[in-house]
């Protein structure tokens, strides 16, 4: 089993039995932030409680990245051809809309309002062979 680590240890725990995204809720106004915030962007209060965000959401908007992003910060290609990827904003009901990779198989297409669940995939391997894990969402349940 190769070594694995999260793309950012403050986004989610990895490895973990049931990994979830970390968010924070403002102790004063209840506003939910992602990633974890030190200060509330709605009311500026500086007391924020860390908690696990919902693992289920609905697709709010999406696009496909069809050209390779500049590297860095995007991982180097290591000679492999660039594979376009899908991303979007996922609404976690009652919490917040988060930017996310969208993982689809060949039979699935994105559409606004689609039900999604949290998923994790390897983004790239770093120089010493460690697999860097990123988060995303994937369709589930009643998808048209």
């Amino acid at each position: 089993m190769p070594n694995q680590k999260p793309v950012d240890a403050n986004l989610f725990d990895w490895p973990a039995s049931s990994p979830r995204l970390w968010g924070s809720r403002c102790a004063l106004c209840g506003n939910v932030s992602f990633p974890v915030a030190q200060r509330c962007s709605r009311c500026s209060h500086d007391e924020q409680d860390r908690f696990h965000l919902s693992t289920e959401g609905i697709l709010w908007s999406w696009t496909v990245q069809r050209f390779p992003p500049a590297s860095p910060p995007f991982p180097p290609s290591d000679g492999n051809p660039f594979e376009p990827f899908t991303l979007g904003y996922v609404e976690l009901p009652g919490e917040v809309r988060v930017i996310s990779r969208l993982f689809y198989n060949a039979q699935q297409t994105p559409h606004i309002g689609q039900n999604l669940k949290l998923a994790f995939e390897q983004l790239y391997c770093d120089a010493d062979g460690t697999e860097i894990i990123g988060y995303g969402f994937t369709p589930h349940g009643d998808t048209k």
């Binding site: 403050n10 939910v32 999406w62 696009t63 990245q65 992003p69 910060p73 930017i99 983004l123």
Partner: protein, 382 residues
Amino acid sequence: MSTDVAIIGLGIHPFGRTPDKTGLQQCAIAVSDALKEANVAWNDVDFAFGGSTDAGNADTLVSELGLTGIPFMNVANGCATGGSALAAACNTIRSGAGKLGLVCGFDKHARGAFKVNPKEWGLGNWYGEEGFALTTQFFAMKIQRYMHDYGITEMTLARVAEKAFRNGALNPNAWRKTPISIDEILTSQMVNDPLRKYMFCSPSEGAVALLVCPASDAEKYTKTPIFVASCLMRTRRFGTLEVFSPSKAIEDQKTVTQDASKAAYEEAGIGPGDIDVAQIQDTESGAEIMHMAENGLCEDGEQEHMLAQGETDLDGKLPINTDGGCIANGEPIGASGLRQVHELCLQLRGTAGSRQVKASPKTGYAQVYGAPGVSGVTILNS
């Protein structure tokens, strides 16, 4: 406002690619043209504001223009750099601290999409490693949702781009001067769904310079002063969707452009119905469509029939992006907002040549938008 401000000299270096000149040199040329237009010397200018993102510090222009000792302040507000520089210059005139000011913006970007360092935008490196550090994705996701909510079609996206290239073909300073058909636009490469290659602007080069003075002094310099009715910028408020947002609140708020627009109309004492010609941020086709509504120039969804009926063409009811906008001029970040103001001045003077809008326009409107959620609005009167 206490003292009215007039724009009394204009200069522009053509946009596009100019491999033999630095950004600063392009700006020095634009400044020289503005000085000649107003029949003044660099020695007469008593303050300056300017900026660029990738082409050096604006205040080093004094090396090209002459070491006269004036205060020259650098402005860095992304795409709102030009608008912010003009706003600062207007405030300098109004306060009485200056009598003849230079406002300039220039840039020179490498080819391809802007390279983004997430840390400069307050984001962790993970944002780039996941593949989110691209401005183009934001515009795609914003218009994707807008099309879903308001019934805007792909054809309307294409019509915006087709108009931009058609207007660019009439503008000697534009980068893209060749018309491109709707069919070519709709079959061009998909870049970020639903946006295709010919719907996007590209980073480019260029420079613009303006000279400003108290309105009471304007006739010393020109027979055709243009008056600043409003010039301001705003940053985003909670709850709006902006470039480089890892998340967005579920509650929707007025956008930063709606905020800036409302404040500008109030400052000018007019409403959207008074606008005769407008230049609005068209980073890509979708941005022009959404900014039409955010600037109060139409209701959400009306863009579909307005574009189909040519209402925003040069001979339409409300001409928009008459010089080809960002799509035909590219986007040199520091210069882009002042390009809009330059074009409005030409239209209000009635000297825009073959792209002059039909009815003599009296009031013009300019709006820029940029990362990480800033918007600048300028309203001008002839």
